[in-house]
């Protein structure tokens, strides 16, 4: 079992015929993901990689293939609408990889998705991978991951690969790894993912990787304090970032004391999380936390 995705996942890829969409769809299929359909307006009727049917609309794709999860690669100007199209067509879980959505679009879209009862991961995220169920709905390098019982949630893509790259050699496999994305406004936050990991019988501990900017980590700390019984191992990056400057991610900017790495670490420490002292120690701190429990 895993969260967001699993053996029952029937994946649809929006933007399947584009450069990134086609490359990553092939990697997802190789990993074992059940990709049932693709959507590119105007390209309906084609077959992707000789087997995945391409449709003009999500509605048609869902009717024909019973797709229940969508992975989105469409350009930023159209990604907001693509998310809404997926939700309106009955998709339960939408994963938006696209980077660069205007914030005002994200605000409207996230609000719309919340009211619909569907789930949205991203935008600007690496996606979700479950090594346990062999499902990859994202752009992460699959070979780094190994099945196991630790859940990983992060705002960053490559830093998640780094974390997993430290866990796997220590024999610490992963149940599900979720990238919530680097934007200031996103469909799912740490709290949403922590909540699912806490309820997931196949996850024993949670590695949470945060960064400067916003207050998502503080909200996570509040939640951990009151609702999470499993050990949480946490790394916050950006200790050396200067204030007022955007560090790559749209959301990674220090605009007040709460946005500082140090205040996030303090909140998480007070919530009882195991703090990873340096990005080099993600594996070792997790190992210690697992041994203590």
């Amino acid at each position: 079992m895993s969260i967001f995705v699993g053996k029952e996942t029937r994946l649809l890829v929006q933007g399947i015929t584009g450069r990134e969409g086609s490359y990553h769809t092939s990697r997802c299929i190789e990993y074992g993901t059940n990709v049932v359909a693709g959507v590119t307006p105007g390209k309906g009727g084609q077959l992707f990689a000789d087997k995945v049917p391409v449709y003009d609309t999500v509605k048609h794709a869902v009717l024909d293939t019973k797709a229940n999860t969508s992975l989105i690669f469409v350009p930023p100007a159209f990604a907001g609408e693509a998310i809404i199209e997926a939700v309106d067509s009955g998709i339960e879980t939408v994963i938006c990889i696209t980077e660069g959505l205007p914030v005002s679009d994200s605000i409207k879209v996230c609000d719309y998705v919340k009211r619909s009862g569907a789930k949205l991961i991203g935008p600007n995220c690496p996606g979700i991978i479950s090594p346990v169920d062999n499902v990859k709905a994202g752009i992460m390098p699959g070979h780094v991951y190994a099945p196991g019982r630790v859940g990983v949630v992060s705002r960053s893509g490559t830093l998640t690969y780094e974390a997993v790259g430290q866990l796997t050699p220590l024999g610490i496999g992963q149940s599900t790894c979720v990238g919530i994305g680097g934007d200031p406004v996103s469909g799912s936050d740490f709290v949403d993912v922590l909540n699912l990991f806490e309820k997931d019988d196949f996850t024993d501990a949670i590695v949470m990787i945060g960064e400067i900017g916003g207050t998502k980590e503080q909200e996570a700390a509040e939640f951990i304090k009151s609702e999470v019984s499993k050990p949480v191992i946490s790394l916050i990056v950006g200790q050396t970032a200067p204030p007022g400057r955007r560090m790559g991610h749209a959301g990674a900017i220090i605009t007040g004391t709460a946005a500082l790495a140090s205040s996030k670490v303090k909140s998480l420490e007070q919530a009882g999380a195991f703090i990873v002292p340096s990005p080099a120690d993600i594996g070792s701190t997790t190992k210690q936390a697992l041994e203590k429990n």
């Binding site: 914030v103 005002s104 994200s106």
Partner: protein, 385 residues
Amino acid sequence: MKLHEYQAKALLSKHGVPVPRSEVISSLSEVRQSAQNFNGKCVVKVQIHAGGRGKSGGVKLVDSVDMAEEVAGQLLSKNIVTHQTSPEGVPVNDLLIEEALNVSKELYLSILVDGGLGKVIVMASEAGGMEIEQVAEDTPDKILRVVVDPNVGLMSYQARDLATGLGIDKKLHSQFIKLLLNTYEAFIQTDCSLIEINPLAITSQGELLAIDAKASIDEDALFRQTDESLQYDSRQEPQIEKLARTSGLSYVKLDGDVGCLVNGAGLAMATMDVTMAAGATPANFLDVGGGADVDKVHKAVEILLSDPGVKKVFVNIFGGILRCDVVAEGIVAAAKASKTPVPPIVVRMLGTNAEEGRKILKEANIGVYLVNDFTEATKTIKSLS
């Protein structure tokens, strides 16, 4: 994308928000005429992309045309240093010459995105003219907030609530409500990430005016913003950052001597942290991005090496979409093309095609130290100092 005060005020004014009369000048010969418009009683304000200009002498009240000219002469075409700028400061290319007003009360007003809520919020305070950060720390109860529902936008009742909460005279409520709703319109229509009016003044004549204004536009929405008056002033940006930006690289200059080249923003911040923890200091944040090719990596190394402060380089790549051999080829090309001596380069490569990448670097003979993990990387960096 930051705008200058005069651009922010033009934007507000276009949407019906009252601002003081003013003129932007960029040469000393224009000062006298501008100041004469206000009988010499005016404020001379430097137009820069950094806060703290008041405390650094960048805002001066004058009461004669002669004095305006003298002050302008001291500021224009010089660099100004504030607590938010680098030690070299930022250039003063433009001055705003603005009428001086009799202010009876100063308020604070801003509209911004609250990431945690995923909504636009309005913040207001009766403690105007102060940095809101300070107010938040000292007297948090003096900050009022309303959350905007994206489906219906800011409601006038919410503005009325704020007017009441701020203790604004009832006679001025309708003025305040109109001003706030218009500011919100400006925010939404131009895809702003921030509009801050501080202070929002109540003059002795009972008028509400935006005396100072800051605005930033969401960079991801620039494709649909066509207003030419909202152009970015790239003269405010250090040359090296401008070069990085136009090359599609995410780069922030810092003060250290370890140039960092990383893929991914999170890993780039982690790399800086690790460098610092090892007792060295990062010279920059640099994310080459997921879709980089050989040319882009070449450009990134070139930018790193153009910083005279860089004495060693730390390349940290976790290959995913970005292949390590592509990175290696870019590094080799840049090192071979470099006209200045190339500092030692410590390279950690993992993930997609890491072995191929390491082989390319080893064979190129350009003074690369290949390491396997963070600990080895930091040890090597330290040994090089």
